[in-house]
Symmetry: C2
Subunit: 202 residues, 2 copies
């Protein structure tokens, strides 16, 4: 198992390698990678040597090979079908964002509790009522969900997701979710990012 | 200076204390705080003792006092006027989200390069053209910006922000921004969160 902080660094390296490959760059050394990611060059060398990738002195790492190598760790080649729960402001921004497909994520179902939203089409996918969520998730074999419902609806929606076979949840609602041990929740809280900035503004 | 990881924990504690105060809870001990934030109880005790907050044995910490104490560190009582650059999917979700005001953040200006968006009103604020950005920022004395423009427009928009006197940038565009030393950029990358989940889905 690769620790989560290392995976986060790999995900950022992958983004930079993708960009470099698109621009026709063939090699990048750890100092250049540091300038592009703000991960220290020594940390990058350490992480990559863990993969057996040493780079050539004076030349650096081969961009397309390194990208493939990290991509396979992140399993970008696999399709990761996911469900979106809560088709509000943030949910729609995520549904309409093409960037997640670069990592293999493909939106397959959208759920909302608002009668008026049910039946609307987003990215070619009809919004379903949250009442049928467990059955629909099981039928589509969806194991990953992105949760963008209000805080007070989050635990209830999570219980439905778990009942529907979901095992990985990306949670944007500012609350701590209780899930069974075989379930991984990743909290993505945006508000603390603002709060930190507030501290610095003398 | 309080280190950023500690500030992040304080921001999460603040959210939980706000919720507890709204529900009429008077005391919380470190074990209860751990269950609500997934920060370890020992880390919470360590962080709070740094503030001189020890809690009473068998009773815990007084919720409203602790909230005030952490709120003053995060300077939530100060108004933090900010500008939003890029009124697209994510930008509008952020502009329309009431949660940031709890930390003192108040949207004061919105900029976009799309002629069709200029003049539209979001949260009572007219979208201005990015062409007048530096002058408008200086006139409104705005020092904080949230950047939600596409990756390839991000560095250029950042240079305009710095020219307009902005010193703190919350960056959502997946790229590393170059800024002068007196400027703080906080990257909020959402894509790596998906990538990490991808690794776990066996
Ligand atoms: N918008 C932001 O920038 C932002 C920032 C930080 C945190 N968040 C968090 O992200 C979440 C979504 O925020 P938003 O701004 O998109 O809110 P929103 O109100 O625009 O959208 C929430 C959606 O969830 C739906 N919903 C409510 N209960 C549901 C349930 N049980 N099952 C399915 N759908 C349900 C609503 O009908 C609505 O469409 C919230 O928890 C919010 O605190 C948002
Ligand atoms: N939507 C998401 O869920 C999501 C997820 C991860 C990352 N991001 C990143 O967040 C940023 C915004 O994403 P989005 O989905 O809102 O994109 P979007 O295309 O919907 O919005 C971008 C907005 O920026 C404006 N713009 C372009 N150049 C500008 C400039 N120089 N000055 C001012 N405005 C300018 C455009 O007119 C548009 O309104 C992107 O960098 C994207 O990679 C978004």
């Amino acid at each position: 198992r690769i620790p989560i902080p290392t995976l986060t660094r790999f995900a950022n390296l992958y983004r930079v390698l993708q960009e470099a490959e698109a621009e026709g760059v063939e090699h990048l050394n750890s100092a250049q990678l540091e300038a592009l990611t703000s991960i220290s060059a020594s940390q990058i060398r350490k992480d990559l040597s863990m993969l057996g990738e040493m780079g050539r002195p004076g030349v650096g790492y081969k961009v397309n090979l390194l990208k493939k190598r990290i991509g396979s760790i992140l399993r970008v080649d696999r399709g990761h079908p996911y469900a979106l729960v809560g088709a509000g402001q943030l949910g729609r921004a995520i549904a309409n964002y093409p960037g997640f497909e670069d990592y293999g994520f493909k939106l397959k179902a959208i759920f909302d509790s608002d009668r008026e939203k049910v039946g609307q089409i987003v990215q070619g996918i009809p919004i379903e009522s949250n009442e049928h969520m467990p059955a629909s998730l099981l039928q589509k074999s969806i194991r990953i969900a992105v949760l963008t419902v209000p805080r007070n609806a989050a635990q209830d929606a999570t219980d439905q997701l778990v009942a529907g076979g979901v095992r990985w949840i990306l949670n944007f609602a500012p609350t701590h979710l209780k899930v069974p041990d075989n379930c991984i929740v990743r909290d993505v809280f945006l508000t603390p990012e603002f709060a930190i900035l507030g501290h610095f503004t003398e």
